[in-house]
């Protein structure tokens, strides 16, 4: 299958991107300054991320659609305000996760942002669950550009006036060069920021304007270190069909109202895991010293009994040390529990720790 390119591919090339294939797309892993610089620039200034490979699924419908989606997602969608967003999951009957996603209420329906590697399968699952009753568009005519970091609000506000008025996890339509953009205040870095859904034809000129205003292009490498420092899950690592949201320590994303009543796909398993406790649970893991423990590293207790596995591990540039997340048996999930990590045949000390590794600075009350 031919590798797909986003509308910003040429701009990436012009900025000395190193490319990798990711979910069938040629995507920049880093630019000339490197992952650590890009990471730190995002934390202190403003980083631009091309996330156009992600799915932008528009589903059009009225209250019937809201009812039907509530049978799928563990959300109180009837009370979701216009232009408000929620983090959620598409699950199977056993509450295994097909994908994690952001769903936003629009006037004419919902916009769901899906992971690139999952989007086509999600579309099939949702079409089938919704019995093709509603118009669904997995829109590949639109690009998705994230702008993340403390200076993003000022940079973006110069181009889209009043964008600074958006609250975290809410969005709105804006006009740019006579076209409509949908902007949400959200992101995947632990920083204040925005995600802009824009027509493919305007994506490059818009991004160039951000660059001119002082933002810099950031690759997927720094996107991963940023999200891991922020303690955020990555599908295929912390989340899969073998893991439930309860095990992934994401109970907060499930509406309390819906937990009481159930009636969404996977609810039985979710409710029983909450009352009986999940066997394994996602935790933060801090290796001692500088050792990096990557995905699939086995985790042991102090008596060298295997208790789990790392799902993401890297060097955190803002933490200035190694960081990891993984799943361990519930009994070993308390903060500051001493554990051992097996790397290249040797066991090294580490500690269970709280998440995030890096404190967030989301804007709650912009208005």
């Amino acid at each position: 299958m031919e590798i797909k390119k986003t509308s910003l591919n040429k701009l990436h090339q012009d900025n000395q991107a190193k490319f990798v294939e990711f979910a069938g797309y040629e995507m920049p892993i880093q630019y000339s300054s490197g992952i650590i610089e890009e990471h730190k620039f995002t934390r202190s200034n403003s980083g631009i991320f091309d996330v156009s490979h992600m799915g932008q699924l528009f589903i059009y419908g009225d209250d019937n659609l809201t009812n039907d989606l509530e049978e799928i997602f563990p959300l109180d969608l009837h009370n979701l305000k216009l232009n408000s967003s929620k983090y959620s999951f598409l699950m199977n009957d056993k509450a295994g996760v097909y994908d994690d996603l952001i769903i936003t209420k629009l006037e004419e329906g919902f916009l769901i942002i899906l992971n690139a590697a999952c989007k086509d399968n999600d579309f099939k699952i949702l079409s089938s669950l919704l019995k093709d009753k509603y118009k669904m568009v997995l829109d590949d005519q639109r690009s998705l550009i994230a702008i993340q970091g403390p200076k993003s609000v000022d940079i973006l506000n110069q181009i889209l006036k009043t964008v600074a008025d958006l609250n975290f996890m809410s969005g709105n339509w804006f006009t740019y060069k006579d076209q409509k953009l949908y902007v949400t205040r959200s992101g995947y870095t632990g920083e204040d920021g925005f995600e802009v859904s824009i027509s493919n034809e305007l994506a490059e000129v818009f991004t160039k304007e951000l660059l001119k205003n002082g933002a810099k292009l950031i690759g997927l490498g720094a996107r991963d270190t940023l999200r891991l420092e922020a303690g955020l899950c990555l599908y295929g690592h912390e989340l899969s069909t073998e893991t439930t949201p309860i095990e992934a320590n994401l109970k907060w994303a499930i509406s309390k109202e819906r937990l009481n009543k159930g009636g969404f796909i996977g609810s039985q398993n979710i409710i029983s895991q909450i009352s009986d406790g999940a066997k394994k649970i996602r935790v933060g893991i801090k290796p001692e010293g500088r050792l990096i423990a990557r995905e699939k590293t086995k985790v042991y207790d102090e008596n060298e009994q295997m208790i789990g596995e790392i799902t993401s591990g890297t060097f955190g540039p803002s933490v200035n040390g190694p960081i990891a997340m993984g799943f361990v048996d519930h009994a070993f999930s308390k903060k500051e529990t001493k554990i051992l990590l097996e790397v290249r045949g040797k066991k090294y000390p580490a500690n269970i720790c709280g998440l995030p590794f890096y404190k967030k600075s989301y804007v709650k009350g912009a208005n």
């Binding site: 892993i29 490197g34 992952i35 990096i292 060097f315 190694p322 290249r344």
Partner: protein, 126 residues
């Protein structure tokens, strides 16, 4: 008099008498990206030509370090263990990895000189 030679695994070795100082090349660091962890062979250990002699990890991945020739490790560079970023900033000088007592200097013959290595690095592109 010292000479510097290069391996296909992108290590350099500076030879002074029967002592070789080994590190990774500028080209290697450019491929690896930001280096954040390094593990060096223990002083006193023996390493065999083309065998494992440590690990470097970048923000992206872990990579083995190989020794271009055999010998006994005399010294390793703790400064790069404490600050692996030095490997990116000065890989072919300050950020040497380890020094060894050369076991068989004829092993040096299989290595490349600077001109040959530059050509190899450019052509291999990896």
């Amino acid at each position: 008099m010292s000479e510097v030679k290069y391996s296909k695994e992108h290590e350099w070795i500076k030879v002074e008498g029967d002592v070789g100082t080994i590190g990774i090349t500028q080209h290697a660091t450019e491929m690896l990206g930001d280096i954040v962890f390094v593990e060096l062979p223990d002083v006193g250990s023996s390493v065999e030509k083309d065998g494992n002699a440590g690990v470097v990890e970048s923000t992206k991945a872990a990579s083995d370090v190989y020794t271009p020739i055999s010998g006994e490790v005399m010294e390793n560079n703790q400064a790069i263990v404490d600050d692996p970023g030095k490997i990116n900033s000065d890989p072919e000088n300050e950020a040497w990895f380890f020094k060894l007592k050369i076991k068989d200097s004829s092993e040096l013959d299989s290595l490349m000189n600077k001109e040959e290595y530059d050509k190899f690095a450019k052509e291999s592109g990896n």
